[in-house]
């Protein structure tokens, strides 16, 4: 059974049809590359899954049950996590504090509950170890490399039992070596049975790490195929419109 199923999803803003009748499904432990030119509807689609937008038409099903999201917190509660393009990190806080931002662990009773620094450092350290990232929970994010910052943002999605992780352009604007690091992080998520949606402009990254590629053009899904049976040339053609549509 698919983790997530989208059926005939559309979204329009006034007269503008941002997403038009898109259907696809997502399996556990699968990495799907979501590609398309600027304005193709990738972001709008992902924002509907993340609970930022409500679809105008169509239904979403999570584990076979109807999924209705009113706000991002709802999505999170259902195990849908998003890594924002700007990572949404606070430079002045430690890695552990960023991982736990908004869901801090506390100990004590009743009204007098204090932050549980020890537990947060420990769990954050475990998550970084799982991600095979050399990131120290006590270090300030300010002093970290791009790859480490990604690790912090991704560790955040692993706090709860996430089923789906949506990643918005995680490899834009970082160095080559750090891109490799991030792709490894994505593989680790996949190995834990998490479904990953990777929004990217970078063809090599998608072909390196994804199992499947979905191409959007002008609000429509124009391709949905296994990476193994596609090629960068074909995907480029689909993105630009040189190739109209493939099955």
């Amino acid at each position: 059974m698919s983790v997530l199923e989208l059926a005939n999803i559309s979204k329009h803003f006034g007269a503008i049809q941002a997403v038009n009748d898109v259907s696809f499904s997502l399996e556990a432990g699968e990495v799907v590359g979501l590609m398309g030119d600027n304005g193709a509807g990738k972001s709008t689609l992902v924002k509907m899954i993340a609970g930022n937008f409500h679809p105008s038409h169509g239904t979403m099903r999570l584990d076979g049950k109807d999924l209705v999201l009113h706000k991002p917190a709802d999505a999170r509660q259902h195990g849908i996590e998003i890594v924002h393009q700007d990572l949404a990190l606070c430079n002045n806080l430690t890695a552990a504090a960023n991982v736990y931002l908004g869901r801090e662990l506390r100990r004590g009773f009743g009204p007098l509950r204090i932050l549980d620094y020890g537990a947060m450092y420990k769990r954050a350290g475990q998550l970084f170890a799982e991600l095979k990232s050399e990131t120290r929970p006590r270090d300030l994010v300010k002093q970290m490399s791009g790859g480490q910052r990604q690790a912090v943002a991704i560790a955040r999605t692993m706090l709860s039992q996430a089923k789906i992780v949506l990643m918005d352009e995680p490899t834009a604007a970082i160095s080559v070596r750090q891109v490799a690091e991030v792709l490894n992080l994505i593989r680790h998520l996949r190995d834990q049975g998490i479904a990953v949606v990777l929004i990217s402009h970078r063809m090599p990254d998608v072909f390196d790490v994804a199992d499947r590629v979905i191409v959007m053009r002008r609000g429509r899904k124009v391709a949905d195929k296994k990476i193994a049976s596609s090629s960068p040339e074909e995907v480029t053609g689909l993105i630009t419109g040189a190739i109209e549509q493939v099955a």
Binding site: H84, A88, N91, G125, R138, R156
Partner: protein, 332 residues
């Protein structure tokens, strides 16, 4: 020797000493101590109990308001209305008690006034997106004017049936001969320090100052917290006003005039960053102490009082300079 991943992750990069030396508050403490030592040797009148008493008392009012200001500055905001709110709260207390009400009613009315003012500032800033500078600048004018309205611009020095209680509250020394205001300052500093370091609320304040957008995305209730932060700032000004009223035994509409500058200076000298995300309770107090020691020493050393502003302003700029130097070194 091979270093495993787990060891790297568990490694603490900073020792206690390296953290201490990188801490602006630490250096301000050293500056205060050195200044005190120098003044004790250089003048006969500095290390007298009377002068020390004077300094500690003067520090407390600035320091208490600076504690509240620290919350606001950590979120990246600013509150220019504290001096006027202090005056308004004092005046509400004075007028209420003068009209024959008990000290409890007076204090309650005074604190309620401060909280309403703070909530007004906070709602405009958080929910309507006003720049903090503009809202609190307006409030600076409004609150002082309301104080004048409340008192008809007179000096209030008779506080009704609980007159003596109020004077004892502000002017007494209930524990080990420590002046009461100093005691209140220490208690409030401990509470502030606790909130900032150990509560979820405190953590979220730092998050907002570091990256407000990120805080919103991760589900931090940014708007509510901002309102509370301005209420805390106004509350601290109100409390300082109550204590100062008891200490002085009279309230004029001039009380707390220009205090906002001193308070902001104290927090910044103590290590808070006006851009947000950094600040401590200890820093606020130490900053207030340094300003007061500078001021006091100028008088004792026989330097013309007109120079005060130059020295205090210089200290502010110097404090920010240290911060810049550290940042330059980091970006190299």
């Amino acid at each position: 020797m091979a270093v495993t991943l787990d060891q790297t992750i568990a490694q603490k990069q900073h020792t206690f000493l390296s953290r201490l030396f990188a801490n602006q508050t630490f250096w301000v403490v050293i500056a205060v101590i050195l200044a005190c030592l120098f003044l004790s040797v250089a003048t006969d009148s500095f290390a007298t109990s009377k002068n020390i008493f004077n300094i500690t008392r003067n520090v407390t009012f600035t320091a208490i308001v600076a504690l509240g200001m620290t919350f606001v500055i950590i979120t990246g905001g600013i509150d220019l209305s504290v001096g006027s709110v202090l005056c308004l709260s004092s005046m509400v207390l004075a007028v209420t008690m003068h009209a024959g009400y008990s000290i409890e009613v007076g204090i309650l009315a005074s604190i309620a006034t401060a909280l309403v003012v703070g909530a007004f500032n906070g709602v405009l800033i958080a929910y309507l997106g006003f720049p903090p500078f503009v809202v609190t600048l307006g409030m600076l004018s409004v609150a002082r004017s309301l104080a004048m309205v409340a008192s008809n611009n007179t000096v209030v020095f008779q506080f009704g049936p609980d007159h003596q209680k109020l004077l004892a509250l502000g002017g007494g020394a209930w524990v080990f001969g420590i002046a009461n205001p100093v005691l209140y300052m220490i208690i409030l500093a401990l509470i502030t320090g606790f909130i900032l370091r150990w509560t979820k609320f405190g953590r979220h304040i730092f998050a907002i100052g570091g990256n407000e957008h990120a805080a919103t995305l991760t589900g931090v209730p940014v708007k509510q917290i901002k309102v509370v932060v301005y209420m805390i700032s106004a509350l601290s000004a109100g409390l300082a006003g109550i204590i100062q009223t008891g200490w002085l035994g009279a309230v004029t509409t001039n009380l707390g005039n220009g205090m906002e500058l001193q308070v902001i200076a104290a927090t910044v000298i103590g290590g808070a960053n006006l851009a947000g995300g950094v600040g401590t309770a200890l820093g606020a107090i130490v900053g207030a102490a340094l300003i007061e020691v500078i001021r006091n020493s100028l008088g004792l050393l026989g330097i013309n009082a007109f120079w005060q502003g130059t020295f205090i302003g210089g200290a502010i700029i110097l404090a920010v300079l240290f911060d810049r130097v550290r940042n330059f070194r980091r970006s190299d």
